[in-house]
């Protein structure tokens, strides 16, 4: 499980300084454009957001721009709406990532052990949810459950609690269930592919040796395979958790945040684009950014997740 994206071993001994200089220059000549484009499209806007978040600034009254320091943050952090949205976002993140981890692992196992004829087939099929547009996925699930055009109510009318009149999107808990279902459907393939890569790294010798020594399937899984996959599981969870935390599309399509399903991204959108309150919207954007950065920081520092593992390992 080497991480070495950056450490291509090179014959350093014969490298003369002139050669090193020209290599460095060529390196930056080639990598520079991509690097600065990334800085321009991300770093500059977030600094602008940081700056704007210190003002009351409405596009409806642009001349009233006024420096208020951290007051916007104070307003947000003392508003129950923010905490409720944060709660919903965390709930969606935790539930979807947990379910996806289990389903994704089972899928990865299925692909890892599958016979040749079905392996390609399974991989092709799981790439469909991966590649499909999130908005399309949201509409597909929405129409399935919708009281107007859906069929889930009539299919599952034998389940207690489901009747023909059940409006899934008129109540927070049922609406969130469908939102999470569509997220899980859409993103499990990605996590399963990351886990499949992890499974492929578990030395086959170890599992075979354990099998010879009489270890049961469950013992081999728990004592050999899972510990050897720890790194790729952590990377998969982190990537998906950060992705799930910025959920927007499915919520926007299915409920637009109604009935207590609003998430942080939607709050930021509603504030900046909907109400044109750039100062307040920027402050929410900064907070959202800090949440994601905090998740990454905790993962890297506390759980020692090596993010390079995804790209560097062969």
């Amino acid at each position: 499980m080497s991480t070495a994206v950056e450490s291509t071993p090179r014959p350093r001994g014969r490298a003369k300084s002139a050669r090193a200089t020209s290599e460095a220059r060529l390196g930056w000549l080639l990598a520079g454009p991509a690097f600065f484009v990334m800085l321009f499209v991300v770093l500059y806007p977030i600094l602008q957001a940081l700056y704007d978040s210190l003002f009351t600034y409405r596009l409806t009254a642009p001349d009233d721009k006024q420096f208020v320091g951290l007051a916007n943050y104070g307003v947000i952090l003392s508003d129950p709406v923010f905490w409720k949205d944060l709660g919903v976002t965390v709930l969606i993140t935790v539930v979807t990532v947990l379910v996806e981890l289990i389903l994704g692992f089972l899928l990865a196992l299925a692909m890892h052990h599958a016979i040749k004829q079905t392996r390609g087939l399974i991989r092709t099929m799981i790439l469909v949810p991966y590649g499909i547009i999130t908005v399309v996925s949201a509409f597909a699930w929405y129409y399935m459950f919708s009281i107007d055009s859906g069929f889930i109510n009539s299919w599952f009318s034998w389940v207690p609690g489901i009747t023909a009149d059940l409006n899934w999107f008129a109540e927070g808990s049922t609406a969130l269930s469908v939102i999470m279902l569509s997220e899980i459907w859409k993103t499990t393939p990605f996590i399963s592919l990351l886990l499949l890569a992890g499974l492929a790294q578990v030395p086959g010798d170890l599992t075979e040796a354990a099998a010879v020594d009489g270890a049961s399937w469950w013992q081999r899984m728990r004592l050999v395979i899972l510990p050897n996959m720890k790194a790729s599981i952590m990377v998969a969870v982190l990537f998906r958790a950060m992705d799930a935390f910025r959920i927007f599309d499915a919520v926007y399509i299915m409920t637009n945040g109604a009935y207590g399903t609003e998430v942080l991204s939607l709050l930021a959108y509603r504030t900046s684009i909907g109400r044109l309150e750039i100062g307040m919207g920027s402050a929410i954007s900064v907070i959202l950014f800090l949440c994601v950065a905090l998740m990454a920081f905790i993962a890297v520092k506390v759980f020692k997740v090596d993010l390079a593992d995804r790209g560097g390992s062969k």
Binding site: E6, T8, R25, L26, W28, A31, P33, A34, F35, V37, M38, V41, P45, I46, A49, D52, H113, A114, I115, K116, G120, T124, I126, P129, G131, I132, T134, V136, S137, Y143, F151, N153, S154, W185, L193, A200, E208, A209, V212, W217, F239, F245, F248, Y252, L264, S265, A268, Y269, I273, I278, S282, S285, V286, F289, V292, A296, A308, G311, S313, K314
Partner: protein, 321 residues
């Protein structure tokens, strides 16, 4: 291969090793592939295992394809048939497709489709070109700041998209980029560029670049060596990266609804959210479903043709076979 086995065993010994197959039918398929000592009893077992694998594939297939099939079926329901409470339409009607291609929603959908294709393809091309240069430098050259480039691209890829929207929304209005193609292409680079750099860097690290010198020793000019040796080696990685970048840009919704206001630059995912029915009393469900199916077709074609490459790209070459 022979860890835990006292006798250095030939291939046959591995496949007939007790315990591998008998106690673990779920591993039957993978063992069976290496089987070089056919026995009738094992054949029967293998046939059973194969059936189980096909059933499993069927279950996975239903889970993966059902929602897509559901919206496909909805797209063929006439407006009066929408509330039939069944998966399939009572009669298959192409009314919704007529609505988006020749009917009232034509303007909205076709312009959005054109915007989506144009903006996504341009953003993908720019990202792949820039990423190819950067990844080549990362894979082959030693320069200070190499780690920085990778770290920054990783950070950019984790960035919450919505955090960019507020500042860009404001900046684009000032710069006149709001509701233009360029105004979407630039932020799309923040989505496509980082993953392209990572994917390509991993691909390029696996390329035996020395072949280039070998070809030159054999008398090829540097240009010939590049064209005949390097390009064929690098092309599959570049191509795969382009597909993945295309998927990501094609999928965007947040930038699409935030940074556009008219049909000038609105992309399909954003346009879907603005669809209205033929009259204000008619729901746009059918038209949205039909449009959703149309924009899913390119995805399905790419997946069918290139599943192996896409999987390799997503896991950076970690999966083989």
């Amino acid at each position: 291969m022979s860890t835990g086995n006292p006798v250095p065993a030939p291939q046959e010994a591995v496949t007939t090793r007790p315990g591998t197959d008998d106690r673990h039918p779920e591993a039957g398929g993978s063992v069976g592939r290496r089987d070089v000592a056919p026995e009738t009893a094992r054949r029967g077992k293998r046939g059973q295992g194969t059936l189980l694998w096909w059933i499993l594939a069927l279950v996975i297939g239903v889970w993966c394809l059902f929602p897509l099939f559901s919206i496909f079926a909805t797209s063929f329901k006439a407006p009066s048939d929408l509330a039939n409470g069944a998966l399939l339409p009572t009669t298959w009607s192409t009314e919704n497709y007529r609505e988006i291609f020749v009917g009232d929603s034509r303007e909205l959908f076709l312009t959005a489709l054109r915007n989506s294709i144009g903006i996504t393809v341009i953003a993908t091309l720019i990202a792949v070109v820039l990423a190819t240069l950067a990844a080549y430098a990362i894979a082959r050259l030693d320069f200070p700041g190499k780690k920085l480039v990778l770290t920054v691209s990783l950070m950019v890829s984790m960035f919450p998209v919505i955090s960019l929207v507020t500042p860009l929304f404001n900046m684009w209005r000032v710069l006149g980029l709001y509701d233009t193609w360029l105004g979407l292409i630039i932020p799309y680079l923040s989505l496509t560029l980082p993953i392209s750099i990572w994917t390509l860097a991993a691909f390029f690290k696996q390329i035996p670049w020395e072949l280039d010198q070998a070809a030159q020793v054999d008398g090829a000019t540097p240009l010939q060596a590049f064209r005949k040796v390097i390009v064929p080696l690098a092309a599959p990685g570049v191509f795969t990266t382009a597909i993945i970048a295309f998927f990501i840009a094609w999928n965007d919704f947040v930038f699409g609804i935030s940074l556009t206001s008219t049909e000038t630059a609105r992309t399909v995912p954003a346009a879907l959210a603005f669809f209205t029915g033929a009259s204000q009393f008619e729901s746009p469900t059918g038209a949205i479903s039909a449009a959703a199916i149309i924009v899913t077709i390119p995805i399905v074609i790419l997946v069918l043709l290139f599943q192996r490459q896409i999987v390799a790209g997503l896991t950076n070459g970690a999966v083989k076979g």
